[in-house]
């Protein structure tokens, strides 16, 4: 038959459990990405080329190579140094680094939107570089880029199925296992697809809402 409803309801609990893993990976990965991205963006702005150039090269390298390879790399490399990472840890790490590189571009654009005169005013007041970033630059740079960061959160969420390649029990892996056990792939994979589709549409709407809200608040600046 085309669609077995009994089977569908049977597998829903297990898929729900897997969805939690997916969401967990997404949130932790994104926190890592947002933080790392900010650090990378600041490093890229360093006056010392010995700091800024490696940071830029790193970002470009990560952005130009497939996430899957990066996941494999992290998962299989660490044991060579005696550290065994779980699939989840390696996967979340890879997601964080990969999207950290993308986020650093977003932050960079945000920083470049701050007019030079703000930097000059801070310097004239003898504010050090740390205080300048903390009190003057970052508070002005971040709000406008939040929608872009939100879009990367959604993108990261949609890429969590890649973790199935290193056997993390998120949605895709669970669906494959269920399918291989019952020889019915239609229901599990379609359900997973629907889940991502719905979450994606909902979060896209949320990001648009945040954008409008920020637009109203940002009027003050």
């Amino acid at each position: 038959m085309l669609w077995d409803w009994n089977y569908t309801f049977e597998i829903l609990p297990e898929l729900a459990r897997a969805a939690l893993v997916t969401i967990e990976a997404t949130l932790i990965g994104f926190v890592l990405a947002a933080t790392l991205g900010l650090a990378l963006a600041i490093l890229r702005m360093a006056k010392n080329p010995a700091i800024s150039i490696p940071a830029t090269v790193f970002v470009e390298f990560i952005r130009s190579t497939p996430l899957l390879i990066q996941i494999f790399f992290l998962f299989f490399v660490f044991p060579h140094f005696g550290i065994t990472l779980s699939g989840f840890t390696a996967g979340v790490l890879a997601l964080g680094v990969h999207y950290g590189a993308y986020c650093s571009e977003v932050y960079r654009a945000g920083f470049e939107n701050i007019p030079r005169s703000q930097w000059e005013a801070a310097l004239a007041l003898n504010l050090g570089i740390v205080d300048t970033f903390r009190s003057i630059i970052i508070p002005q740079a971040i709000p406008p880029v939040i929608p872009a960061l939100g879009n990367y959160l959604i993108a990261l969420f949609k890429e969590t199925p890649l973790l199935s390649a290193i056997a993390v029990l998120e949605l895709m892996q669970t669906a494959k296992i269920l399918g291989s056990e019952s020889f019915r792939y239609t229901e599990p994979i379609t359900l997973v697809g629907l889940f991502f589709l719905v979450m994606s549409l909902v979060s896209a709407a949320l990001v648009r809402l945040v954008e409008t809200w920020l637009g109203r608040v940002g009027r003050r600046v």
Partner: protein, 260 residues
């Protein structure tokens, strides 16, 4: 550092942008509490003088001294080497600047604009910084607007906040870079009044680039006329404005009068 040492000294200072020489072996001494106005055609180097003193531009030749101490260089083994960040920050603390475009921090209220640097740089407590900011905003006539954001203030008001903000750091030298040029004419007066008040009530060395000839004539102790990166003529306002010695000075003043 004797009391006779000039507050600011430019010693053979040069600034180039590629093939273009903007400041050409500039020698300028500014005494303590002296009010100096710098006038001249655009591109003559006057704004560059201010920006170099504020360390916003790098120096290509010569040395700048503040209170007898080199600003852009430091002494090491009896020689002068380019200053490092720590030295720069220490000497820079004596200088404050007000910009043509105000450059207030848009995400902070007037009060916070004036409090931020004293707290972060001078280490003032929040209470002390607040008290100082309130006092300064009161002095520039904006006591009732201290919680307003820059976008809620007129140009003249923003510039006055900018002056208060610079003063909060208790500099010894205040730089004014065409601070009324971006203002609508009817707002210019309120800013000039504050500057005038500063001159009489505070012990400040003031260096200003301005096109407000009337104000310069009445307020400045000395006027420097800049032409092509050098001081073509300098002297008391009486001399420069009424009986200029140089033909170029006369030409410039004639052109300014015709335009105004």
């Amino acid at each position: 550092m004797t009391d006779n040492a000039p507050m600011v000294r430019f010693d053979g200072v040069r600034k180039t942008y590629g093939p273009l020489t903007v400041l050409d072996e500039l020698c300028l001494d500014i005494a303590r509490n002296e009010k100096v106005a710098m006038i001249g055609p655009s591109g003559s180097g006057k704004t560059t003088v201010l920006r170099m003193l504020m360390t916003l531009e790098r120096i290509d030749g010569g040395v700048i001294y503040v209170e007898g101490e080199p600003l852009t260089h430091m002494e090491r083994n009896g020689k002068l080497v380019p200053a490092d960040q720590r030295h720069l920050r220490r000497v820079r603390a004596k200088i404050g600047m007000v910009f043509q475009q105000f450059n207030l921090f848009p995400h902070m209220s007037a009060m916070r604009n004036c409090m931020e640097a004293p707290i972060r740089v001078l280490g003032l407590s929040r209470k002390d910084a607040e008290a100082r900011a309130a006092e300064l905003l009161e002095m520039v006539g904006l006591g009732d607007k201290k919680d307003h954001y820059p976008s809620q203030l007129s140009g003249g008001q923003q510039q006055r906040v900018a002056i208060a903000r610079a003063l909060a750091m208790r500099p010894k030298v205040m730089l004014f870079d065409e601070v009324t040029s971006a203002l609508d004419p009817e707002l210019v007066g309120e800013v000039l009044n504050v500057i005038r008040k500063l001159g009489t009530e505070h012990n400040l060395t003031m260096l200003m680039v301005t096109h407000q000839m009337g104000f310069a004539k009445e307020f400045a102790d000395r006027v420097c006329f800049f032409y092509k990166g050098r001081i073509a003529e300098e002297g008391p306002p009486q001399q420069i404005f009424v009986q200029p010695r140089e033909e170029r000075t006369r030409q410039f003043l004639r052109a300014v009068l015709e335009a105004g």
